[in-house]
């Protein structure tokens, strides 16, 4: 009964929101291997093997070309009330781990879908040899989500089987609105996806229930698959107009503590406003100069660029899980982005 009431309320909310044209979005994902040369604090690169999702819309299901796997995998943008169907074919290549960790799934993290769509092999109805995953986000669920493999997550997520799903509002013609949600206060001019992740190469070579997985020692720190070790070699770049608004979609697929900050070229922290966390609008938006983002969390934030030209460095500082005696956390490293205006 309560659910019915909820549905009616949600329906009423939907009526109150701009009339949107929902569409069905069909995606086909496959899995592949790739390698990246990473540097961390070393000047010598190290080749690390990853597994990634690929867009194989061309027909990977029957063993055809599986597309090119990437880390992160394809970022999907869908509209509120759209229906996302992901046709997932993990078997285009050899089994990557032995039983019981063979196969792969897609967990729609934060989507709160039915158990059989949740991609968790330990619960009922989730296939590891290929499946379809369906999700229809409702009004009020705009924001950033993530998807990742939920088979032997400690290994498969670390291997790179992750990416973001962005749920966006649509206007009456069905076009995406450049807002975080239907609230006009969340309008932006530019949007960037900052997908946080960390890499411990030992996890990339260990398999099964290895004691290696009891000790996480990341040495590479990524934003959307790139290192961005210095401000002069940023992982993300944006050339924008002055006084415009930039949305940052922060997606926490890392395995350490992390904080997001924006500094100008003088190193001064710049304020930004958090409107959405974990795909739910905050009742009161918060303007801050630093935001902690723990593994699994997401945040949708907006910063307004100054009226005079300059450079900003949005940055993610990855920190250890164990606190110092004073409650602070030692930093591993900082990964940088760059915005010029």
């Amino acid at each position: 009964m309560k659910k019915l009431t909820q549905t009616i309320i949600l329906a009423a909310l939907a009526l109150g929101a701009p009339c949107t044209q929902a569409v069905t979005i069909n995606k086909s994902l496959c899995v592949g291997s790739l390698s990246k040369t990473l540097y961390g604090s070393s000047s010598t690169g190290k080749s690390v093997t990853f597994w990634g999702y690929s867009d194989c819309g061309g027909g990977g299901r029957m063993g055809g070309m599986g597309g090119t796997a990437t880390v992160p995998g394809p970022i999907m943008e869908i509209g509120v009330n759209d229906t996302l169907n992901i046709n997932f074919s993990p078997m285009g290549m050899m089994t990557m781990e032995s039983a019981p960790y063979n196969g792969h799934t897609i967990h729609l993290h934060g989507a709160d879908v039915q158990t059989m769509e949740d991609g968790v092999p330990e619960t009922n109805g989730n296939m590891v040899m290929g499946d379809t995953y369906t999700w229809t986000p409702q009004v009020g669920h705009e924001g950033s989500y993530m998807y990742h493999c939920h088979v032997h997550t400690v290994k498969h997520l670390e291997m790179g089987m992750y990416s973001a799903i962005i749920v966006r509002p649509r206007d009456s013609n069905g076009a995406f609105l450049n807002r975080l949600n239907f609230d006009i206060a969340t309008a932006y001019d530019y949007s960037q996806n900052y997908i946080l992740s960390t890499v411990d190469p030992a996890y990339h070579t260990a398999t099964g229930d290895s004691p290696v997985f009891a000790d996480y020692n990341p040495s590479y720190f990524l934003i959307t698959g790139k290192e961005g070790r210095t401000t002069s070699a940023p992982a993300m770049t944006l050339a924008a107009m002055r006084s415009k608004k930039v949305a940052f979609r922060l997606v926490g697929l890392h395995s350490t503590n992390a904080s997001f900050e924006i500094k100008n070229s003088s190193g001064v922290l710049q304020p930004f406003t958090v409107y959405i966390r974990d795909g739910r609008a905050l009742p009161v938006a918060k303007t801050v100069t630093s935001l902690e983002l723990s593994p699994g969390q997401r945040a949708d934030v907006i910063a307004t660029l100054p009226s005079t030209s300059g450079t900003w460095y949005p940055q993610v500082t990855y920190k250890k899980l164990r606190a110092n005696a004073d409650g602070t956390y030692p930093a591993y490293a900082t990964a940088y982005g760059k915005v010029t205006f």
Binding site: Q114, T115, N124, F213, Y216, N257, Q297
Partner: protein
Amino acid sequence: MLKKIGLYVLLLIAQNGAEAAVRNFALHIDNGNLTITGTGGTTLSVWGYGESAGLPTVPAPTLTVNEGDTVNVTVYNHRNALHNFVIKNVTTDATAIAANNGSKTYSFTAPAAGTYVYSDTLNTAINREMGLYGAFIVRPADDSNSAWTGGPYYDHEKVWVVSEMDKPRWNDVASTGGTVATATYKPNYFMINGMGGFDAMMDNNTMIMGTLGQETLVRIVNAGQFSHSLHFHGNHFQVLSINGVRQPLPFEEWDTINIPPMSTAEVIYAINQTGDYPMHVHTAQAEGANGVYLNGAATMIMMH
């Protein structure tokens, strides 16, 4: 009939009288063992607080009182080392209880309704890491199923004490009288309520269970030294309080919450669909027992 009514009246008086109740607890500090069952499991040497002498538990017994109660906790130290008992943000006496059967009574008035963590704060973090920690719960004075007087109502209540232990470098060393090199801490066991995931995913006192529309208050205590980022499948939860700070209405809704060491949080999880879902720490190594997947900090959400 009259007799029955009289009984009800007496019961009501007794219930209202709970506001001024005196609550006496005894805790005994002893050496013990904590067994993590299932693949990857082990038996850890621990030091714990227990309700009875010689029977320590990890985590320590949950002490539950009502706001305004007079609380007396007598702690007996049966070990041959110094220990103490401090409820963070509640008690302040951190001096040691004498070794070899010394005891001390801590008396205080139960503070604002909420979730607190108690531990032994001596010996750097070693005494705590060895298992001397537990949850202290203050329910509202009227003992209603609300997080605090006038606060949100709930149907069910769970306490999750999250922690971790470094067996080779801390427990094995401290339990045999060695010196723990505290600068290095690489915990290989991660627990909720002293259980690995294989037990906690079947434990009625840990799992969230309910029928459509029911709400569970989850009191989360991180007694470990690592931050723990808890991700709930199936639904978002409302964030009621963080480290004792009650959040303004309407509550924010998240699906992942970070609990720093020695802090607490209270969330309400509502059953809004049917199904079985995991709740697990989203940090790589915290999901396992010495690397064995899912025997770490995880439990289940059963929605029927």
